[in-house]
Structure formats: structure tokens, C-alpha cells
Amino acid sequence: MSLENSTLVKLNNAGFKQNNKWLVEGVSLTVEKGKIVTLIGPNGSGKSTTAKIALGIYKNIEGSVEKYTNKVGYVPQKISIDWTLPLRVYDFMLLTEDIKDEAIDEALTLTGVMHLKNKNLGNLSGGEFQRVLIARAISKKPELLVLDEPVQGVDYTGEIALYELIKKISDTLNCGILLISHDLHTVMTATDHVVCLNGHVCCSGSPIDVAKNNEYKTLFGEQASQILTVYEHKHDHVHSDEGQIKKN
């Protein structure tokens, strides 16, 4: 597959300024089909802003965004829904696209919330709602999936299962994923490319490269870079610079 065809979204030196303050600047990254790109960084480092630039929510940006797909699924970090609307989980699943009932059921089953299909959205718990958000985003079978802290509020076992699901979706649908996560374990093990942000791009590359980077160590501490070494012991492959899997 040529580079042009597999690229879903490409940020060229992109940045966004609000009230004369840069939220993030100079970000270049590419999300390709079948690849997971993860944004990490401390609070206020511009992760969500970068995702919104990639999605085209922010209009007056510096640099440029090239988007090659319109089939997008988005799980925002914060979502405020007005409860003056009578809205069931089922209605919410159909929000941006008319999808078939089987696809809805499949997605809800995958995220473990099929039993909530006819419940009112306002009556869900935080974790349940988060699962519904993920189900909605994947049920469209998108080419590009943007997940901004998708498992917040989900219980521990659910968290692991959902991350496995996300990885599986990236493989089966061959869609590109832009993931924002604080869970360094997941980031370092499941992703192809890591971008470490702190108002700008601190460092980026394969998880191994980033973990070795000194700026990463100052941001996240020495322990964070050891997560990977711990994990490497139980893994049978490494990721090359291009993100391809190499058997050990």
C-alpha cells in the first residue's frame, strides 16, 4: 500500500491559539490505516487540542491538516449532554449516522452494555456512559477513530478489556486510531507510534525510542521508562521504527 493511500490524517506543523495563548504548537503527525498513534503528556499539554485539530473542530489553526477520510468515530474527553432531551442509548447510537440494528447490537455487546440499549442516557453511570461512547464510535465502522481518554471511569477489568477491544478493532477494521491515554502500560505495549506532548512535541517515535528519550524521563519520571522494560520480558515481539511488528 502506498503512503498516500494509507494516510488518514496528517498534521503539518499544526498549532492552535486561544486568547493569544498557544494551547499547542508545531505538531506534526500522521495517522495511517491499521496503526495506533498515541498522544501522551501531562495535563494541559495540548493532547485534546491536538485531537480536535486533527478532527477539524478547531478552524483557525496554524499550519495545516490534511484529512483523507470522512468516516470518523470520536470519543471526546468531556461530553456534556443536555437532559432536556429524551435520549435512549439506542437513539444516541444513531446520532451521526443511520446504522443497522445488527451493527448497533454488535458494538454494544463488544463494549458490554447491550443490556442498556433502551435505557435513558441520563440514567447511566460514568463508566457505563463511557462504554456507550466507545460503542457509538466503533459501530460506524470508521476509518479513523479518535479516542480521547476512552476508558476514564471504567472499572479496572473493564479497562483492560476495552483496550484489548480497541487493539482488536484497529486490526479487524484496519482503521487508524489516534489515542490519548494516561495509561503508560497500554501506550507502551499496544501502540505503534507515540507522540509525547508538552505544549509542543517533546519527542516522538516508537514506544521504545520514546521510553529511552531523556525528555520523556523528565516528564514522566524514571519509573515510567521502566514500564517498558518490565513489559518487554513477557513479550515475543518488538516494534520497528515504522511500527511494524518484528518477532524476536
Binding site: 480536535k52 478532527l55 477539524g56 473542530i57 470522512n70 470518523v72 468515530g73 470520536y74 471526546p76 461530553i79 456534556s80 449532554i81 443536555d82 432536556t84 432531551l85 429524551p86 435520549l87 435512549r88 439506542y90 437513539d91 444516541f92 446520532l95 451521526t96 449516522e97 435513558n120 460506524k140 479518535v146
Partner: protein, 267 residues
């Protein structure tokens, strides 16, 4: 049959209710009731201009309401005043200008009460034509922008991110609001149009668990309000607008009783 003024009023009123039902749901969901008030207050200016230049009333009201909506959007961008203050400013100043202009038009006899509260005696066959064709166009356009408008009502960023162009849907919806006011002014009167938009929708909210049901019940509530309101208007010789709105209020109160019952059932 259309010779009878009451039959004309019924046909016109039912046409209005078919359109205000779905639009009213969006007015409730998007918290636009004061926006609706502002547009309908400015409609008086539209009516006076129509009389001054012997122009079609519905068209004139539509144009003036659209202009007021545009001015509002500009003021929101250029000033730091809160939205409700701007709405009040535009509503009352356009109402005042309209009333002053009426004062100057001494050569025309105005039925102010009819304008403010609706007048079923005044509904002509031409009005019916305007209401039903205008209403059909409004409903078709609303159907076309339903997806982006509804999605952005739930969450703007989701709609924008997933490529639905919510800004365009919002702009079109504003024009639809001006249009619905233009076609319903003769039936309900300009002071009560927002009531026709909000009360059936609010009633429907009490008894619905999905957006489609709410739209359906809102339409049914509106139709019932027009029927009940017009018959009582004929019976008790009251203005059509207040009678229709009162009927809607009665339905709203009944829907509250329904809630109490369902809560009891749950317990």
C-alpha cells in the same frame, strides 16, 4: 366549505400546529424560547411595513425576523453583553419601533388586538395557501437538516468531528424559525407564537422517552390545542391565540398528572 370563516380558521390552525410541533421540540432542546420571543416581537415591525408598502404580511414578517436574527448574531460576536440582554434589547426595541410606526400610520385602520393575539375572522383562503405551502417547505427543510441539527443539539463537537456541518444546520434552523413565525402570526398572534412552539413540546417531553416520540406527541398536542382552542374561541367569543394557548396549557397540566402516576407505578 372554505366560505365558512371557522372552517378556514381550522384548516389554517391545524397547518400551523403541524409545523410548530417539530420546530417547538428544537426550541425546547436548544433553549431558544427567548430567541423565539425576540423574533415574534420583531414581527410587529414586519406587519406595519407590510401595511405601509402594501406588501404580503407573511413575507414581510419573514424578512424582518430574519434581519433581526442576523443582527443578533452580529451583536453576539461584537459585544460582551450576555445573550439574554441582547435578546431583550432586540425584542423590546423592535416592538417599540413597530408600535411607533403604527402611530404614524393613521390612515390605516389597525386591529392591534388581532395582531397581538390572533384573529380567526381574518383568515383568508390566501392565508391557508401560505400556511400550508410555507409549512410544507419548512417541514421538508427541517427533515433534510434533521441529522446535523439534532446531533449538534446533543453535542456540537461530535457533530463537527464526524463531518455533519452543524453551523450550516444552525443557520438554516434560524431561517426556519423566522418562517414559522411568519406563517403563524395571523392565527396565534405575535405575543403568543412562542407559546405555541414551547407548550406542546413541553407537554410532549413529559410523556416521551425518545426524540421521535416527543416530536410526534408535540404535533398531536398542537393539533388538539388548535381544535379545542378554536371551538372554545367560537363558543365563548374569545381571541383565537389565547384560547389555543390555554388549551395547550390544559394538555400540559394533564401530562404532569401522567408523570405522577408513572412515578407511583414505579414505586
Amino acid at each position: 366549505m372554505l366560505d365558512d370563516f371557522f372552517v378556514r380558521a381550522l384548516i389554517a390552525g391545524l397547518g400551523v400546529a403541524l409545523v410548530t410541533g417539530p420546530l417547538g421540540c428544537f426550541v425546547v432542546w436548544r433553549r431558544l424560547s427567548y430567541f423565539g420571543d425576540t423574533l415574534s416581537h420583531s414581527a410587529l415591525l414586519g406587519v406595519t411595513l407590510a401595511y405601509s408598502f402594501e406588501f404580503n404580511i407573511a413575507l414581510s414578517v419573514f424578512i424582518i425576523s430574519s434581519v433581526i436574527a442576523l443582527i443578533l448574531i452580529q451583536l453576539q460576536k461584537k459585544t460582551n453583553l450576555p445573550g439574554d440582554a441582547l435578546l431583550g434589547l432586540l425584542a423590546h426595541s423592535s416592538l417599540a419601533v413597530g408600535l411607533v410606526v403604527i402611530g404614524f400610520l393613521t390612515f390605516i385602520r389597525f386591529d392591534i388586538m388581532g395582531l397581538l393575539f390572533g384573529d380567526i375572522l381574518a383568515v383568508t383562503t390566501k392565508d391557508i395557501f401560505i400556511i400550508w405551502t410555507g409549512g410544507a417547505v419548512i417541514l421538508i427543510v427541517l427533515k433534510l437538516i434533521w441529522k446535523p441539527l439534532f446531533a449538534s443539539t446533543v453535542n456540537y463537537e461530535l457533530a463537527e468531528a464526524e463531518g455533519l456541518n452543524p453551523d450550516r444546520a444552525k443557520a438554516i434552523f434560524t431561517i426556519l424559525m423566522a418562517a414559522v413565525i411568519a406563517i403563524s402570526i395571523k392565527m396565534v398572534g405575535l405575543l403568543l407564537i412562542t407559546g405555541m412552539l414551547i407548550i406542546p413540546a413541553a407537554m410532549a417531553r413529559n410523556i416521551s422517552d425518545s426524540p421521535q416520540k416527543m416530536v410526534l406527541f408535540s404535533v398531536i398536542g398542537g393539533l388538539l390545542s388548535v381544535l379545542l382552542g378554536l371551538f372554545s374561541s367560537l363558543e365563548f367569543n374569545t381571541s383565537s391565540g389565547p384560547s389555543i394557548i390555554m388549551a395547550a396549557l390544559v394538555l400540559f397540566i394533564l401530562s404532569l398528572l401522567n408523570i405522577k402516576q408513572s412515578i407511583k407505578l414505579k414505586n
